[in-house]
């Protein structure tokens, strides 16, 4: 099956800081790809690049074989409409109720009657367990509810692809499990293709068809959950098992720390 997204030798830097040197991966229809990596490794940046919010310095990002950076405004909007995004904070519009948040994209892009929009809103809110909060403002919702509300809004345009940015971050274990179950349900019921950005190992293994570990400016390993469970690669083991010692622990840190202290002393 032809990949939906092909990332080839992607390069991205912010000033002097190189984020990716050679990022390569494909996204196959129907799969759930989980991208893992430490804080600051560029997981969320990857989603921003895929949504066309950020440009890249080199390499290719092909969407249905077309280069993303060459998309016209119209093509980019069509691509964005086919993708649903769950932002890290939910990113609900604070000046609108949950109902208005969900209605907005449909009102903006379709001529559906209000009665039908209202039914859709209730269906998706029921799916994420928030139907009782339909007329609440985002400020009245907890962190987990905001995320679920954001997910319901992302589903309103019935996307074929879903991007989840840290869907379980900051949630209690029960809410995390609920969100992970939602991801699985959506795949099963709507057959969506998903990219999940996370460093929550439990959720990652629960939802992934494939896992990719972003480390040292490239995908260090891409494979099925069983491969990640059984690999002896020290870097993967350290990340997956949460070990203190290993390749990911910056050995240069001690030297940098000492140098910083000495510099301060001389000032």
């Amino acid at each position: 099956m032809a990949p939906i997204i092909q990332i080839k030798n992607l390069r991205k830097s912010f000033g002097d800081r190189v984020l990716y040197e050679d990022l390569t991966i494909d996204l196959v229809p129907g799969e759930t790809l989980v991208v893992m990596g430490g804080s600051g490794s560029g997981k969320s940046t990857l989603l921003r690049i895929l949504m066309g919010h950020l440009t890249y310095d080199g390499g290719n990002v092909l969407v249905h074989t077309h280069e993303l950076s060459q998309f016209s405004r119209r093509e980019l909007n069509a691509w964005r409409l086919s993708v649903g995004v769950l932002f890290q904070t939910g990113a609900l519009f604070n000046s609108m109720t949950l109902r208005e948040n969900l209605a907005l994209p449909v009102r903006e892009h379709t001529d559906l009657p209000e009665e039908l929009i209202d039914i859709m809103i209730k269906i998706y809110l029921q799916l994420v367990g928030l139907r009782d909060s339909i007329d609440r403002m985002p400020s009245e919702l907890s962190g987990g509810m905001k995320k679920r509300g954001g997910l319901a809004r992302a589903l309103m345009m019935q996307p074929r692809i879903l991007f989840y940015d840290e869907p379980t971050a900051g949630l209690d274990p029960v809410s995390s499990a609920q969100v992970a179950q939602l991801i699985l349900d959506l795949k099963e019921k709507m057959n969506v293709t998903s990219v999940v950005i996370t460093h929550d190992m439990k959720a990652a293994f629960a939802v992934a068809d494939r896992l990719a570990l972003l480390a040292e400016r490239r995908f260090h390993m891409v494979g099925r959950p069983e491969e990640f469970r059984t690999t002896t690669d020290p870097l993967v083991r350290q990340f997956v098992d949460g070990l203190l010692d290993g390749p990911l622990s910056a050995k240069a840190d001690q030297k940098a720390y000492e140098a910083d202290l000495l510099k301060r002393e001389t000032l």
């Binding site: 949504m51 919010h53 069509a78 964005r80 409409l81 932002f87 892009h109």
Partner: protein
């Protein structure tokens, strides 16, 4: 220096894109059209809420102008001319400028803070992720509302100033309101009224576009919102004065 040039360039792009988006936003079909509900909400927020304060301030300014002018004019036996001077100064200058300053404090700062908070909360990215253009959805309604309400506020402000001066005339200058009104109307031309309203419309555009620009430029969380909100007020007032000087010079040379 480079940062300043980039900022001016970005501002120019936002101004061009926003003005270009007004026409399609008003007349296009769904998905590209301005939300009337949103426009109404912005007009209320920006304009209607500023109405009492503009009325109060302009009535006071009319009264102050009358009290400042009258003693000097009395020396030449020209007290009734107070009405002429107050009307001319208000309609051409004070009405649009003072209303714009009040609107900057009320509407401009609110726009910058609101949009800045939306930037911090990933709401702008969420709009783009839903293929909703933030310029059409956020900037255009505020721009249109600000221009319309600025013109309306100026008309109300002008009238409030005349009433303020009229009260002073009746109480302290022995000018009855009818006499005051006749003097004021005699001197004023349509040109005085129109030049004031042209200024008001341009001021409205300035207030909204600077506020939206600085709101969208917010970086660094709550502190960034605070910095750009106060920067909006300062930069807008400076821009208003400079624009006023430019218009007055142009009208002076054109003989308006």
């Amino acid at each position: 220096m480079r940062q300043t040039i980039e900022m001016i360039g970005d501002f120019g792009i936002l101004l061009k894109d926003s003005v270009a988006a007004v026409g399609p936003a008003l007349f296009s079909g769904r998905g590209r059209r301005l939300s009337w509900r949103n426009l109404w909400l912005q007009m209320n927020r920006i304009g209607v809420d500023s109405l009492p304060i503009v009325t109060l301030v302009m009535a006071c300014i009319g009264a102050i102008l009358a009290m400042q002018m009258a003693p000097e004019l009395a020396r030449f036996g020209l007290v009734p001319v107070t009405a002429d001077i107050v009307a001319l100064a208000t309609f051409r200058e004070m009405g649009p400028l003072v209303s714009a300053v009040v609107l900057t404090g009320f509407g401009g700062s609110a726009i910058a803070a609101e949009i800045g908070t939306m930037v911090v909360g990933e709401e702008i990215e969420a709009l783009e992720a839903h293929a909703i253009d933030p310029i059409r959805f956020l900037v255009v309604p505020r721009l249109v509302a600000s221009v319309i309400m600025m013109v309306c506020l100026t008309v109300v402000g002008d009238l409030a100033a005349i009433v303020g001066a009229m009260v002073v005339g009746a109480l302290f200058l022995h000018l009855n309101p009818v006499q005051f009104y006749e003097h004021a109307v005699q001197l004023l031309t349509v040109g005085d009224f129109v030049t004031g309203l042209i200024k008001a419309a341009v001021f409205g555009l300035e207030i909204s576009i600077i506020a939206c620009f600085l709101g969208l430029q917010v970086r660094g969380g709550a502190m960034g919102v605070g910095i750009n909100t106060s920067r909006t007020v300062v930069m807008t007032i400076v821009a208003l004065i400079l624009t006023d000087l430019f218009f007055t010079t142009v009208f002076f040379y054109l003989g308006f």
